[in-house]
Amino acid sequence: MPSQIQPGAAGKREINQYWLLLPLVILLVSRIIPFLHWPGVVPLGADAAAYLHNFESCFSNPSRNDCLSSPEITISNLLQLAGWSINGVLYGFYILSVVFVGLAVYLVTKEYFDRKAAITSLIIFSLSSSQFLAYFAFYWKMMLAMGLTLVSFYLIKKKTYLVIPVAGLMGSLHPLSFLPFGLAMIAQFIFGQNKKFIFISGTGILLIAFSINWQEFTNWLPYYTTSLGITKNFPTDLTEVFIGHFVNFSYYRQLILIYLPFAIINLVQIIWKRQANLIVFYFLANLLIIILNFIFHNRFIVLLDLAAIILAGRPVLDFINSLRWTWAGRLIISLLIFGLVTSFSYQLWSIEPFITDPEEINELKSLALTEKNSIALTNNRLYLPFLNAYSQRSVIELPLTRNNLVSYYSILDTYQQPIYLHLGEKTENNPELKNNRLFKQVSKHIWQYQGGNKK
């Protein structure tokens, strides 16, 4: 068996590249485990159902306006043309994207710091609870955008204009990921060197991103012009929607307690030396967005975490190197590794998908066998993607409260009948609906509305 540390050409001890295999295996196995843990259901987040619906419908009808210029649809269609199944595109490519992000963490850390730090960062990435939670939430577009962002940082460091198509597509694919990247580029332009290169590539990136997805950019513009993009300035009913679907910042700080101090050490060192480092700018841009509560600020935690992992690599390695020679030092290192692995394993095993009962998925699929003109109804918006994906019927969401019971029926009566109501396990117990003579139970989670005009 070859030694793990080998002498390098320059006399320095270089780490064996085979060490890369360890985090990659952890990454792959941990991302496959949810599929084995939850067979028969959608093992990852509710967004999976929404993507399934979009990918299927755009592949069968590619001329639809919203499919034409959508990067994720183009990638999905391309993969399906290449022979991938829809589940392969949905899940296989998603897992491939996670591995891609891991390798991009390695690539960018190696370029900005060194190879040993890069392998350390990749190990932290593979054991990061917050990155696993992001994976579990099924951010298909964001995962790919994260990888593209990191490779863009590498290409900027290499000063090659190949960054233009890479970051341009990232911007059009996921404008949310583009915001901190853009802010970091502006900071690099102001404080860094190679201003001409940054200016030309930045202009090219913006041109590509806007030319493809200008509609989404203009959709968000009013929120920035009227409320500066800060969720606290929004009307109360919108605040909840725009905080972003991910863990909040307080919980995140608990998750990354093990490597956050190391990231801060590196951050302070770089700032102290007055170096213009794009990764530092990226970290600070995300931190600013989160602290100021910009639109979807919780989602930026995933990106902040990515920057923290890259920054933490070098100090973690130095810390291990300085402690590993003593008995007490080895104990501290072992405790830290044990803490990281335990926290990660706990997240991995304890997390549950939104729908845990395979029977409930089958019931949703059975809606596709009802009358062609029927309508699927839910009173919980979290079930919308599942109904859209599986029912193959028009779907309406009508939240029920004790105060709108009367108007509830009158609204339902305005719709085409029959209407099938789905009340999932995660929906609040609605005795008003379940024990109502106007709703006839069809199966465990499905009721048919009996009132209304037969149009």
Binding site: P62, L78, A82, W84, L107, L148, L162, V166, L169, I212
Partner: protein, 88 residues
Amino acid sequence: MKTFLAIIGSLYFLIAPGLALTLTFLKNIDWLDRLILSFTLSITVVPLVIIYLNLTGLLLTLPLAIISTAVIITISLLLRDAGVSSLR
């Protein structure tokens, strides 16, 4: 046979165009860097070309995808042969 075609298709769409671009514009990088960059450039450049073709009215079909990818590969390699080796 279907799996075999999917593997060939994936290599063609997800690696080959990016590999041609890296061979032309990025010298002196190790094999792992080249692999990561080949995937990255393939997954960005091919969809970009297809999206712009879509917007001009040419809808994505298998022949169009194969031809556009082939054009990207050919142009990259021609540039390499012509000695255009830097995008700086």
